[in-house]
């Protein structure tokens, strides 16, 4: 395969990139490459040795490596060409890709379409502004996960975890089973940041204390972490004086949010959504640059890999179609606007001509609600939480109700009343 002939170039070989590349091939694109800076396909799935993957996609309870393996085999079977240990360092507004690897040096080419599948990274100590000294022993939950599950090192013996994201809770269980003592999981919000099943199966199962509405106010230790101070926070998330308490520990793990990795997108002039941190896309997952698509955690942070795969398949299919036909038909001209208790909606724009799945998150937990997509449809939901993504299928049939002149549809989540 010559670089000049590439139909679809996928950037990133995690679950999103693999799904996009496979589907692009299946949809008829001849030359599909997947560019990955690591030495193997699969991305973060290799270090996610816990189960809970594929419950929706495969109807099976798989571990991360098993889930990844199924896609890796399919990448090979469908004839996608992986370009490993190759880091994309440049993307321009006319779809020029520049990449480096040890064999060829700097390579540059212009594929017919591009799928962004760079995933996300963790919020680090610097981004959290935790006061105190700079000892070793402060690391993100994902780094700890790599140490424990891939490299074979225990990062510490007495651990405090800041943030109750899924990786943090999963690491609390993992570290406990590997012989460490997890002293506390500390969450600034009044509710956990991850899924309920992880609160039950990772924290409750092992009697790990969870401190809601608390944060770490100081890290102690010179060479190595010796303790952290935690404190209760008020409604504005400020520490309440007099509630400080010191917890002896040798490590602090951070599980306080994920940030889509969009440096390349910004370089290319792709418009980002300030709320998701990912590109603004229409229902084909096309960005504002023709022929550049995005899917998975680079677009918005998902809680389930199954949705990452589905969304990226859509991006891959659109990329294949664009590569072959140079046109995807109707563009997204209707803006979906977040109304009451909706934090964001992906896609941000729709054409109104195709079946569409809307992914959204709420701002606050709420029970017994009605989600309204303008006056097109409403869906009753028993409970919503910021940590659990909501998926709503919007059929093109329902969308026929939309007036041709419509420029904006407001999506809102309202309490069901009068019953």
């Amino acid at each position: 395969m010559k670089l000049q002939d590439i139909d679809v170039a996928v950037i990133g070989a995690g679950p999103a990139g693999m799904a996009a590349a496979i589907r692009a091939r299946e949809a008829g694109a001849e030359n599909v490459i997947i560019m990955e800076r690591a030495e193997e396909l699969g991305g973060l799935l290799h270090q996610c040795v816990h189960n809970g993957f594929g419950l929706l996609y495969f109807n099976e309870d798989l571990t991360g490596p098993e889930y990844g393996n199924r896609f890796i085999e399919k990448v090979m079977d469908t004839g996608v060409k992986p370009l490993l240990e190759t880091m994309v360092v440049k993307l321009t507004e006319d779809r020029q890709i520049g990449a480096v690897n040890a064999k060829e040096g700097f390579i540059t080419f212009r594929p017919k379409s591009v799928v962004l599948a760079m995933g996300c990274r963790e919020r680090s100590r610097g981004a959290l502004n935790i006061p105190g000294s700079r000892p070793s022993g402060v690391l993100t939950a994902g780094t700890a996960q790599r140490f424990v599950n891939v490299e074979g090192f225990l990062p510490g013996k007495r651990i405090v975890i800041l943030g109750s994201g899924d990786i943090g809770m999963i690491m609390a269980r993992r570290l406990t089973l590997e012989g460490a003592k997890v002293e506390a999981v500390v969450e600034i919000l009044p509710y956990i940041g991850g899924l309920i099943r992880n609160e039950v199966q990772c924290l409750h199962d092992f009697d790990i204390p969870l401190y809601l509405q608390h944060t770490v106010t100081q890290i102690h230790g010179e060479e190595r972490v010796t303790a952290v101070t935690i404190a209760k926070v008020d409604a504005d998330r400020n520490p309440v004086p007099g509630t400080q308490r010191k917890i002896q520990c040798d490590s602090l793990l951070l599980s306080a949010g994920l940030i889509p990795e969009n440096e390349l997108s910004l370089m290319a002039g792709i418009r980002l959504d300030p709320v998701t941190g990912g590109a603004v896309v229409d229902e084909t997952r096309q960005t504002n640059i023709a022929g550049v698509f995005a899917g998975g955690n680079v677009l918005h942070v998902h809680d389930l890999v199954d949705n990452v795969s589905w969304e990226s398949e859509l991006a891959g299919e659109s990329a294949a179609k664009f590569a072959m036909e140079r046109d995807l038909g109707e563009k997204g001209t209707i803006n979906l606007k977040a109304g009451t208790n909706i934090r964001y909606i992906v896609p941000q724009t729709i054409s109104g001509q195709r079946d569409t799945t809307l992914y959204m998150r709420v701002n606050e937990p709420q029970e017994n609600v009605r989600i309204k997509i303008g006056d097109i449809m409403t869906k009753t939901v028993r409970a919503v939480k910021p940590s659990e993504m909501i998926k709503i299928e919007l059929s093109s049939e329902k969308l026929q109700k939309v007036n041709k002149e419509t420029k904006e549809i407001i999506v809102s989540c309202e309490k069901r009343g009068g019953k």
Partner: protein, 122 residues
């Protein structure tokens, strides 16, 4: 004397706190706090037979990869998780291993095998 035990249902984002009332013989007398039937089903399982899949890693020999990811092929009692992890901490494997290969047969007489979650090459 009847006693009470609480569970958090993981069936949906609601996360109902369900209180189970049990008589002295351990018989279930009633459920409270669940907002749907699924909650009862979940709590019944969690009370009578709380099981989990155990996932872990085992050390490797003769491989560039220091660890191999493993799992139990089926869920085991959650009270067995720590013991199971202790067995796996002493287990070593050599390549080649394919996903699904049995690493520890019949873990702790549970009748459940520990299998490889990933491939291992030399």
């Amino acid at each position: 004397m009847a006693k009470k035990e609480t569970f958090i249902c993981i069936g949906c984002p609601l996360g109902c706190e369900v209180t189970l009332t049990i008589d002295e013989k351990g018989k279930i007398l009633g459920f409270a706090g669940n907002k749907c039937k699924e909650g009862e089903k979940y709590v019944f399982e969690e009370y009578t037979n709380p099981v989990r899949i155990l996932t872990a890693t085992v050390l490797t020999q003769n491989s560039a990869q220091p660890l191999l990811a493993v799992r139990t092929s089926k869920p085991i009692l959650k009270t067995m998780l720590a013991q199971g992890a202790a067995v796996l901490a002493r287990t070593k494997v050599k390549p080649p291993v394919r996903v699904g290969d049995i690493i520890v047969p019949n873990l702790l007489d549970t009748g459940v095998d520990v299998v490889a979650s990933a491939n291992l090459s030399s």
